[in-house]
Amino acid sequence: MNVIVCVKQVPGTNEVKMNKETNTIIREGIEAIINPFDTYAVEEGVRIKEQTSGKATVISMGIPSVVDLLKETIAVGIDDAVLLSDRAFAGADSLATSYALSMGIKHIGEYDLIICGKQAMDGDTAQVGPGLAEKLNIPHTTYVRKIEEIREGYIRCQRMTEDGYEVIEMLLPAVITVVKEINEPRLPSLKGMMRSKKAQITVWTTDDIGADKSLCGLKGSPTQVVKTFVPIHDVKSEMMEGTPEEQASKLAKKLLSMQFAICQEEES
């Protein structure tokens, strides 16, 4: 089975701290990493390729330095990696990203399954997986926590829901987005690290993949950020003072006087 895994580079920490006086972002050594959810996708891709003696390829859209990050995937067993990098891709929202990735994937060739992580830690939209499936005109299932069976033209998997899971069957080729319950990503092996040092990552531009520039990047993004601002938490906290007994007593009185469901308990 040939598997393609979509991977995104994100900032190393979500804890973007704000400088309260100037309302600006403090950037302290935030290095780039592979989106954590994507490491589960990579692991699943490697497992499927090992079980079916197939091939696993990673694809990503990003700036040229992402090449180094993609080498890490080679170290855990991915066979090949492709980076879509072009000025024209900059500023892409989920739709433009889905389009660009779909063109890149078409350029890679035949595949049975595409795996994405559940969501990216910076955008959190979780939209590219389904959006990509649509552009490729293949079925998709999100939040997959386990693949029960996979064979030529068929997959049966468990999709995590709010109160349990569903068992979904799909015809391949298809897209799945995975959650971290699906596996435990492996550490790289020494042989893998050596392979990754020597690996040549392919880099493609919009022209290489025949993408319509007007559908990529900012140009191809129907949504635009019109304003960014620091959220103001204007809640004034009331602190309970005194000895612990006094603090507990004050708090309890406050809550009980505030007409809550707690009080309704009392009445009934």
């Binding site: 979500n14 804890e15 973007v16 701290k17 704000m18 600006t24 972002i25 935030i30 900059a90 929202d93 989920s94 889905s98 830690m121 910076d122 955008g123 959190d124 939209t125 979780a126 997986g129 389904p130 990509l132 499936a133 649509e134 079925p139 998709h140 299932t141 999100t142 049966r156 709010e162 109160d163 349990g164 899971y165 569903e166 068992v167 979904i168 069957e169 900012l218 140009k219 993004s221 129907p222 949504t223 635009q224 950020v225 019109v226 304003k227 960014t228 620091v230 906290s237 009331e238 612990p244 603090q247 507990a248 309890a252 406050k254 809550l255 009980l256 809550f260 469901a261 707690i262 009392e266």
Partner: protein, 398 residues
């Protein structure tokens, strides 16, 4: 092509833009002028930050726009289970109602499934002007393929201006598939939705970078404008059985021979009150010290008739199951009362509970971020405070 560049003559080297850039795509050159790097995503944050108008940002007019005047109406996707609308549907009607009134248009609930007469009535009672319902046995359970297909047929036939969906498991799968098929913009997890008084478009505000930054997003040239909203963020309207509305059964082709089949549905959570529905939640974090100390959390929750929540750290440490996790990668809750015990208040946790009406924080660190959002705070040791609180409430509630 969109472009952005620094007007060197106007740049004074104040560095405000460097601080404002969420992507680290700006830096100072040797002669103290701002320089834009390769990883610029053209988000425009620097433009707003610059006080000297030294950044020239040309937004490209997107050429494949549609005639937006042809689009009308606010639609919401009413998720349902076994013919019963999910509470997210009512919340969407709540915010949808305001949008429809501001836009002077109708609010339509789209309902897909089987045996939905009751559901139609309920949706009207809670704010819908119209319910567009598609019923078929094959649609009994949610299916990405058929629901997408039908919804898109409805969109193409009716051209709604706005579509709102829940950021639920199904919503987060359906919305992007639809948006991709009809090539329009979709904004996820909106915490605020308003109509721009100037030109009537939808202003979609959502948190970015785990909530440290808020972004307002628009979809100026494509229709419908689509947005998903998290559970418990918007408020439902009170049900009003005097409300009237229209029930429409449009003609659609029900797709057959699907590539996706739902074989089985398994329920694993046996909570009496699901966390997201509880009015009172008592949550524990790493500050509880030891998993066995969660017994105090359980006890307080029981006395108050509430549910038990937990921070991600405790779930990752194996102290409690994931179903109790509150936060960005857990559940979003908005109860009347939320107790944060031994929880520091990391932004990812706040993202899951900050819309609670009353937040009570107990933490021994007076600088813990949780105190910034708490209504009431106690600086103290949870192990000392919880037994005292349990005693206080037991005395009154028995």
């Amino acid at each position: 092509m969109a472009s952005i560049k620094i007007i060197n003559e106007k740049c004074v080297g104040c560095r405000l833009c460097i601080g404002a850039c969420p992507f680290g795509a700006m830096e100072m050159s040797n002669d103290r002028k701002a320089v834009i790097l390769d990883n610029c995503t053209l988000c425009g944050a620097c433009v707003s930050a610059c006080k000297f108008e030294a950044i020239d940002f040309q937004k490209e007019e997107v050429s494949n726009s549609v005639d937006i005047s042809l689009y009308e109406g606010i639609w919401i996707f009413a998720e349902q289970k076994h013919g019963e609308p999910e509470s997210i549907a009512y919340e969407l009607l709540g915010v949808g109602r305001t949008l429809a009134d501001d836009r002077n248009t109708t609010l339509t609930a789209v309902l897909i499934g089987n045996r939905l007469d009751d559901a139609c009535k309920k949706l009207i009672m809670q704010g819908a002007d119209r319910v567009m319902v598609v019923e078929d046995e094959s649609l009994d359970h949610y299916n990405d393929e058929s629901y997408t297909d039908i919804f898109v047929q409805l969109i193409r036939e009716n051209n709604p201006e706005v579509i709102l969906m829940g950021a639920t498991t199904y919503g987060r799968s359906l919305a992007p598939r639809i948006a991709s098929r009809i090539n329009t913009g979709l904004t996820a997890d909106c915490t605020k939705l308003e109509i721009d008084p100037e030109d009537g478009k939808l202003l979609q505000t959502r948190p970015a970078f785990g909530g440290n930054l808020m972004a307002t997003i628009i979809c100026p040239n494509h229709r419908p404008q689509m947005a998903t909203v998290r559970h418990k963020v918007m408020k439902e309207l009170e049900p009003d059985d005097k409300r009237t509305g229209e029930i429409i059964r449009p003609e659609v082709t029900i797709p057959k021979d699907l590539k996706i089949k739902v074989k089985d549905v398994v329920s694993t959570i046996c909570e009496m009150v699901p966390l997201t529905e509880a009015d009172i939640i008592v949550s524990g974090g790493r500050g509880m010290g030891d998993p066995k100390n969660f017994a105090l959390i359980n006890e307080l929750a029981e006395i108050l008739g509430g549910a038990v929540g937990a921070s991600r750290a405790t779930v990752d440490a194996g102290w409690i199951e994931y179903s109790h996790q509150v936060g960005q990668t857990g559940q979003t809750v908005g109860p009347q009362v939320y107790f944060a015990c031994g929880i520091s208040g990391a932004i990812q946790h706040l993202a899951g509970m900050s819309s609670s009406d009353t937040i009570i924080a107990i933490n021994k660190n007076p600088d813990a971020p949780i105190f910034k959002v708490a209504t009431f705070g106690i600086v103290g040791d949870v192990m000392e405070m919880l037994p005292l609180l349990i005693k206080e409430f037991k005395a009154v509630l028995g």
